[in-house]
Symmetry: C2
Subunit: 316 residues, 2 copies
């Protein structure tokens, strides 16, 4: 996508400058996943949200980098918790180094996010507000990560978990952009709502892709959620609707039967549970887009709508 490509250079320059330091081993571990790739759609949303409320295009660059630093922090820890070995086509940090170094790398990414945002060249009141928002968002991401360690009993609980673990970061990405751009409370609220809804849609699509994409394109093992016995909206829909195949295969997959994973994947597609999740993602995307109706028609707003479409309709 052109807009992601155009803005990437400036964002990456900020990221790499934040992650240059000593001891080299710590900074290498912290910058490993940043260098390995990633779509950068969250920081681009920050830039666009700022511009959509009339902010200076360069004024939100540090805020954008801070959002990507928090995202990377959560990826590093997520791989530790799930013991995933592959991320963005390279080894995860705790595999390339060790668990202690991965935790320290995540700590560094975290504090660098706050340092970077604090260095924003903007009005102090706006910067304090954005820093407070980033901190509250980080609380919620951690709450979501903790919720993800127990099994959701229904779709509602699952949605409450991904609202914190995933959508929160999209909400704050848009929110801090709006704050630094000098948006009104109403504008910031609309941007947050847009980020949250498109973030939920993004995560549901991510669950779909985990079942439908080739491992090479995905950069991690296919069906890894199922192999770990993790419940997603797709599986919950199957279980809540009494799909006997899904019930039986999910039990087998959970107890470590690797053969059950491709069979379960097939059943979830065949019986319409994947299609259900895709519909929910489209509904949320549509709700997200409605949230922006109150904002003036600008090039930045069009780009935000375009990015949200890309997030939810991507094929890998």
């Amino acid at each position: 996508m052109k807009i992601l490509h155009e803005r990437r250079g400036d964002i990456d320059a900020e990221l790499l400058s934040a992650l240059d330091g000593e001891p080299a081993e710590l900074y290498d571990a912290a910058s490993h996943l940043v260098k390995a790739g990633g779509k950068r759609h969250r920081p681009v949303m920050t830039l666009l949200a700022s511009e959509a409320v009339g902010g200076d295009p360069k004024g939100a660059l540090k805020a954008a980098a801070s959002v990507e630093l928090v995202h990377t922090f959560s990826l590093v820890q997520d791989d530790v918790f799930d013991n995933d070995h592959l991320r963005r086509g390279v080894s995860s940090v705790h595999v390339g180094w060790d668990e202690d170094t991965a935790i320290l790398a995540s700590d560094l990414l975290f504090s660098k996010a706050f340092e970077t945002l604090a260095n924003s060249a903007s009005d102090s009141r706006r910067v304090v507000r954005a820093l407070g928002r980033l901190a509250v968002g980080c609380n919620r991401i951690t709450e979501g990560q903790a919720m993800d360690m127990s099994t959701p009993s229904d779709e509602e609980e699952y949605l409450a978990m991904i609202d914190r673990k995933t959508a929160e970061l999209h909400a704050l990405a848009c929110g801090v952009g709006g704050m630094l751009g000098g948006g009104t409370d109403g504008e910031v609220e609309a941007l947050e709502e847009f980020g949250r809804k498109s973030g939920l849609a993004f995560q549901i699509k991510d669950d779909v892709l985990d079942l439908t994409t080739d491992e090479e394109e995905l950069g991690k093992p296919r069906g890894s959620d199922l192999a770990e016995g993790k419940l997603t909206l797709i599986v919950l829909h199957g279980l809540e609707h009494g799909d006997a195949d899904v019930e039986e295969l999910f039990e087998r997959a959970k107890t470590g039967d690797r053969d059950a994973v491709p069979e379960l994947t097939d059943a979830l597609r065949r019986d319409g549970h994947v299609a259900y999740a895709e519909e929910r993602a489209e509904e949320l995307l549509s709700d997200a887009r409605e949230s922006l109706e109150s904002l003036s028609e600008t090039r930045a707003k069009s780009s935000l709508l375009e990015v949200s479409g890309y997030m939810v309709r991507r094929n890998f």
Copy 2:
């Protein structure tokens, strides 16, 4: 000490209010060590530093709590890295819960520190400056923790490590207090220097106490540094001065010989290496106190000097 006792109530109320939330298991794990005790000398230093430059006594309370939250964050992770089971007389967080929950609890403590500081009722420029200082301090604490994972080759390297891992938090505790209190650059610099030097002295005294205090008073196993093969200033002094007993016993302790720990402790005391560390701590304390000479004589300054004496001359 009276001053620590007097200020504790307000600080603890801030801490407990920051650590009240859902999911309960996460918040319980995060507040576990806060409730278990601690001297609170760092947050008290923040309050006093603010008052020493003419700040409102209540204005730095949230900053003080944020410093203690960062301290608790580092304790939780330190116990994970060293696999220490006992802290402040209770089980460490990863023992009472599990490692993943301990890491998430530390994440929450971290972001709550920034949220709390961002909510300071003070001039926005001061708050942004303090938030930036807190973030830079956290970078350095993590760098120090990473340095602590390799073996220092001499006293200089050891001091560089504790400067980041321990003294940095004391420096920033005083620095953010000075910033929120509206101190001049010179005053903030003097307070940071005072915090750093007294923090170094505090850590060296901590190493001494690890060898000289009863386990019950210490709240953790005596000689735990030695048992883990960790080099402190005391052991480095023995090794650098060719003390054959220290060399032999340290090799034995490192390879898991538990009987070597009390023998090594005796040798380090008998051969003057503990006394050397105590002298260095006294010198640093004296340097720390000199740093404050440029500040006006206030009750807060006297209390800061008193707290630094307590930190270095305590017997447990």
